[in-house]
């Protein structure tokens, strides 16, 4: 199956009100070119899953600046004043999720789990409204999976099949998100022939990736 598509096809995957995710950490490992392409459409009211919103005018921050995000699941927005302002103003509905819990909730969706049990957040606001499960004398919070409609992934290289390798610290949330979405689209720096990537060192298996864009 041909997975390579052109970046100007991004709009055809977007719908108002859908749930998207963007990998990366403080902009490092964001699919920057795809973000710019999303901004060329008029899509709005997005639910966004991301560990942070980078900063004003950079990476994911651009989607916030243009008020495309209505609901946000993130672990940290301290580096983006615009995000904080839109939350305080009531435009963005924010659910702050501990970073490890966010990773596990996304992974749970990828792995077909009904949820994960964790002690992170016990005795804090994070546990409010959630079920507490007792196992072997300890309390755990039941954290439910986060399912994604479209995940935008940034990798270093893809082969024609859609196997991905990443560079440096960009694997972060890209890896779990790729498996948790109905459709995963990877922005890569290079698409190589099958056989050119060592199958022993693939970070994201081709089965998670629907489309690949060289940008």
């Amino acid at each position: 199956m041909e997975k390579k598509i052109s970046i100007n096809e991004i709009g055809s995957f977007l719908q108002d009100g859908m749930t998207i995710s963007i990998g990366g950490f403080m902009g490092c490992g964001n699919a920057h070119n795809i973000i710019d392409e999303i901004l060329k459409t008029d899509v709005k009211d997005l639910t966004l899953i991301a560990t942070d919103t980078a900063r004003d005018g950079y990476g994911i921050g651009k989607l916030i600046d243009q008020r495309r995000v209505k609901k946000l699941y993130a672990s940290h927005i301290g580096t983006n004043k615009q995000t904080q302002a839109q939350v305080i103003e009531g435009f963005i509905e924010l659910e702050l999720v501990p970073q490890g819990t966010l990773a596990e909730r996304i992974r749970a969706a990828a792995a077909g789990l009904g949820g994960v049990l964790t002690q992170t957040g016990l005795g804090t606001e994070v546990q409010e409204g959630k079920e507490i499960i007792h196992i072997d004398g300890k309390d755990y919070i039941l954290e439910k999976p986060i399912h994604i409609d479209v995940a935008f992934i940034k990798a270093y290289k893809s082969d024609k099949s859609g196997n991905l390798i990443y560079n440096g610290a960009t694997r972060n949330f890209n890896v779990p998100m790729a498996g948790a979405a109905k459709i995963s689209i990877a922005e890569v720096e290079e698409i190589v022939e099958n056989g050119e990537l060592n199958p022993n060192f693939i970070h994201t298996p081709f089965v998670y990736i629907n489309h690949v864009i060289k940008a």
Binding site: F25, G78, T79, Q99, G100, A103, T124, E125, G168, A169
Partner: protein, 215 residues
């Protein structure tokens, strides 16, 4: 030495050879610079790498390698990269010997608040809730007061990051340790008296000064 240098130097003395440590942004990270030359430790960066790293120079800069504060760094040989699921397995699974974090408030029950000031500041918890629940030892390094207001309290007033999670508090005035859930003042910094500490510490604590050399 100024107050922050005193704290960083004292934090550095908690590192043992071979420790695997996650350091919060800012003051905790400064501690590495005060470490004895005989000691080597490995660090963990929650966005996806472990080992030892240096600040990037224009020659060594790789856009895909930033630390948890967003600064460009270069990983030394022997280190490695991973995704956020693995990163937080390391944190939550008890594989870190120690984490050093800042705080807005700590109280006499070992509760920590450092992620939110309702109505004012909404940075989010990032990885802090995971770190305080998963690390073998949790050290809080902070200035003893904020604009003259005490930070070591009888009870935290701000939303908690973790309940009964703190093991040690290091400030420019002294060192506190939690032993079986009780708070002890165990060290005084140079030229600090018990009375100096009492004046700015509303929390109840017992005094059990270690006969260690002063910093």
């Amino acid at each position: 030495m100024d107050a922050k240098e005193i704290i960083a130097a004292r934090v550095a003395r908690e590192f043992k050879n071979g420790d695997f440590v996650n350091l919060g942004i800012g003051l905790p990270t400064k501690a590495v610079g005060y470490m004895s030359k005989e000691i080597s430790i490995n660090l963990h960066s929650e966005n996806g790498f472990a080992g030892v790293w240096d600040s990037a120079t224009p020659e060594t800069l790789d856009k895909d390698v930033v630390d948890a504060g967003g600064a460009n760094v270069v990983l030394q040989e022997g280190g490695m990269f991973f995704d956020s699921v693995t990163s937080f397995e390391i944190i939550r699974g008890g594989h870190l010997d120690m984490t050093v974090l800042g705080a807005l408030e700590v109280d006499e029950e070992g509760n920590l608040a450092n992620w939110k000031i309702p109505g004012k500041l909404l940075p989010g918890m990032g990885g802090a809730m995971d770190l305080v629940n998963g690390s073998k030892k949790v050290i809080i390094s902070m200035l003893h007061t904020a604009k003259g207001n005490p930070k070591i309290l009888k009870k935290c007033t701000l939303p908690l990051t973790g309940k009964a999670v703190v093991d040690m508090i290091i400030t420019e005035l002294g060192v506190f340790e939690f032993r079986n859930g009780k708070l002890f003042l165990t060290e005084l910094m140079s030229n600090v008296t018990l009375e100096d500490i009492k004046k700015v510490t509303p929390a109840s604590y017992e005094v059990d000064l270690n006969l260690k050399e002063e910093v």
